[in-house]
Chain length 411, copies 2
């Protein structure tokens, strides 16, 4: 039965890593502690691991406040993750019965699931099942994804750090690529399956000391080889070293991913998504070399952009922590079947507060870059995009260096 | 004519970028200033640019001490670089006559060239020509290369920062790759054409919070697919997520680069080197997937490992600065045709001092990882390697963040 407190809580992490998914875990953990939750359990390897009875007692593991500081600086999922999709209960009630029996065994009163689109689907299904079976357990989704493609939130925790990494690395790549007085084209491949939020963040490299990328290719804009080559050729007439930031999700007019036009396409994950789209930069680089007869290099920013905690955004870490804590507060207030959101109150000064929305409104939908934030010719983002993204990469949280490398925490 | 001072000096940067080549430039610049050099010229785009009359006046460009602080934090070559090889003067005296006429025009008394093996060849040829023609101009080489393959120096500036980047990034990659409770193999491709110094640095990821890579493949050890697959298979029986650090220079017993076994081999640069060996990790990843039926991901650390100034080693920056300053001191002392070296005086505490060697002893030779620093089965480095490399990644120099990204200086 409910008391004034929150009761035992259970928290899990799901989906792909980010630099700040553990900051949300820290937020859930410390908020639950401050409400005197008797037990704070963590799912090991997400809902899939928990289904097999894998859980840990976070309140016993995290004794020292230093552990929380390390957690804020540790990328990926401290608790492990999964890409498990709950079945339609009309077809298979098994996992639901198992899960709710486990909730009962551990007297769980609130469940928090930190994840992206697919994880919000899990929370939606669990809360619907709970409602249908008269359970009083509260289910709250805590958003995270570097892809920034969740609806009804200004942005998602994880995006700011990925954007900061991309901006900082693009500056270094541009220094590196501009070193010779020779014609060259560098193509940096950036994550983002169906939305160009991450590729667009390459614009943040621009400043008094750096021109930023000369072109940014987004999944939102169909790719035309002719237009592309014409633009690269024109750019090279005014500067020898051309830099292109290309989303891994760039597609032709027919909807074919560029990376599928080179050998070694990706594999499907449990959600039917391509798990690795790598190849777009190689395709573009080959296209340039064979048509413009100019040296071209493909660089894949790869998984580093989602797990570079050493270069995380302080704003992002703070917000990730706050959405975790706000989830606990929402559950304490009796809410269920909701996702915590971030609502931007102002750009200057940047101010953002947490809110919640019905999770059904969020699950399985994707938010793309608005057309009016993309340059008219489709090869860059404009000032509106920068105004949106720039505040999200402000501030740093110094890594704790031990013996030459950043120290992390592990289970 | 020589006076008590050093006279006008000329400094250039050559070869591939590093995170600290500008720290050596700062060392040359500040040492020359402290000796009241009337003019401090910089070659624009190395000796090749200078041959075309491209130079800048550093003493006019770098007014504020903040400029030097930014230079210490700016990757790649502030002055631009080249990959130009001076011809054998017996066959073509032209470039020598042009260069020495330019030296005379600007009354240059000392020339400093910051670079790797090939750049030391340039200094060797210039000083030989100078000696043969009775010139009193002094030529000093300032070593830099992330490859760490120069002879007669304990290590080269640039290596420590690349090693620190590799160690830190491998820790983050391992966090990222171990997130699911699934069998997987991650292959991270690390630079190093003919020597395994960089790949070996992946061992520095190991510590209380990280097991480090499970295997390290070096160019020094011939690759056998059978032995490799057997080892990966054995590793997977004790842990689901296997991590491999592989040098881009790994070769078969017949001396064939693994990257040449996949499509899209590299291009030759002016020195006849492959300028991009990318493909080794893809080859290994494909080999694993097709033989062990297990998910495998290829990650290329790419150019980021040589230009990640945001994660540079303070030890490396300090030493790079000191070899630059020591070069000026060597020239002031009347030396020519020499390269500055680093001599390690002790491991605990780590102490290193500068020295000089005859440049002919260095040019065009390559230093590889000693056989007794490699594990007996050839798939890792041992404690002797770590003892050598660990001191080189100690310490940090905080980037100067402006508006969310590290600020650099540019010409």
């Amino acid at each position: 039965m409910m008391t004034n407190g929150i009761g035992n809580v259970l928290v899990g992490q799901s989906g792909g890593p980010t630099a700040v998914i553990n900051a949300s875990l820290a937020g859930v953990y410390e908020a639950a502690r401050s409400l005197d939750a008797p037990r704070i359990y963590g799912m090991k390897y997400g809902i899939q691991g928990f289904l097999q009875g894998n859980l840990v007692e976070l309140d016993k593991l995290l004794g020292d406040k230093l552990d929380v500081e390390l957690m804020l600086r540790t990328p990926s999922s401290y608790l492990g993750s999964c890409r498990y999709k709950l079945p339609d209960p009309a077809q298979d009630e098994g996992p639901y019965r198992t899960l709710f029996a486990l909730f009962e065994r551990y007297d769980i009163r609130a469940v928090f699931y930190i994840g992206g689109n697919d994880s919000m689907d899990t929370i939606a299904r669990l809360s619907a099942w709970g409602r249908a079976t008269g359970s009083s357990i509260r289910f709250i989704g805590v958003p995270k994804t570097i892809d920034n493609d969740l609806m009804l939130t200004d942005h998602t925790p994880g995006y700011g750090s990925a954007a900061k990494y991309i901006a900082a690395i693009m500056k270094e790549v541009i220094c590196d690529s501009s070193v010779y007085d020779l014609r060259s084209v560098t193509v940096a491949e950036i994550m983002g399956r169906h939305a160009g939020w991450l590729a667009g963040a390459a614009c943040l490299a621009c400043g008094p000391d750096c021109d930023g990328p000369d072109m940014i290719l987004l999944p939102e804009v169909p790719f035309s080889p002719e237009t592309f080559l014409r633009k690269v050729d024109a750019l090279q007439r005014s500067k020898p070293n051309v830099i292109i930031a290309a989303s891994e999700g760039v597609r032709t007019r027919d909807g074919v991913f560029l990376c599928d036009l080179v050998s070694g396409g990706g594999q499907l994950d449990a959600f039917g998504h391509k798990s690795m789209l790598s190849g777009t930069s190689r395709y573009l680089s080959d296209l340039i070399q064979s048509n413009l007869g100019c040296k071209s290099r493909a660089i894949e920013l790869s998984t580093l952009q989602r797990c570079a905690s050493h270069l995380a955004s302080r704003t992002d870490i703070d917000e990730a922590y706050r959405v975790g804590a706000a989830a606990v507060e929402a559950a304490r207030g009796g809410l269920t079947g909701r996702m915590v959101t971030l609502r931007r109150m102002s750009d200057v000064p940047y101010q953002c507060v947490t809110g919640t929305v019905e999770i059904e409104q969020v699950a399985n939908l994707e938010k793309t870059v608005p057309a009016d934030w993309i340059a008219a010719d489709g090869t860059h983002v404009n000032a509106a995009f920068e105004q949106y993204a720039r505040p999200l990469i402000q501030g740093e949280l110094s890594p704790i260096f031990v013996n030459g490398t950043p120290r992390h925490i592990r289970l």
